[in-house]
Symmetry: C2
């Protein structure tokens, strides 16, 4: 069982992930990405998919043309865990 | 400008795409797909992405683990065009 982060733990980590924000019910973090083209957006998604599969932790996400929306949450604990924060940091690192 | 399909034209084509249904405001068609794993789901998305880019017609879509939801609509005409029906048929053909 993966422990759910407390509000204090979330508050401590989130400033290190400036592009991400808590969703409405505080059970996930979300970030929107905009690229120049669909090819760039889907290329980014492919990199995220490989990171996610390697981490065995998968996003909820959507894409419309050059835009990608990602939500990270941990089903097992019904909220945010360190897995979400770790994946968010890896996704951010893709952006260089 | 790509012409918008009339209701009669939609009604004539849709029975040939049995997995797809009209969305609420009849400006798009939607289909849900379920796979065994994330790898299968994202593998499918990669194939769809290549079809979409080749057709220069891109889906609105989302993925959660082994599930993929696709909506097709034609922004240029504010509704459904033959491009949506053609892409839907190509997506269905991926499923073999």
């Amino acid at each position: 069982m993966i422990p759910r982060l407390t509000d204090d733990e979330i508050a401590a980590v989130l400033p290190g992930l400036p592009g991400w924000s808590l969703d409405g019910d505080r059970t996930g973090i979300v970030r929107s990405f905009k690229f120049g083209t669909f090819v760039e957006a889907f290329g980014f998604m492919t990199k995220v998919a490989l990171l996610a599969e390697k981490a065995d932790h998968h996003p909820e996400w959507s894409n419309v043309y050059n835009r990608v929306e990602i939500r990270l949450s941990t089903h097992d604990c019904g909220g945010l865990s360190k897995r979400d924060m770790a994946l968010a940091a890896k996704i951010d690192a893709l952006l260089g």
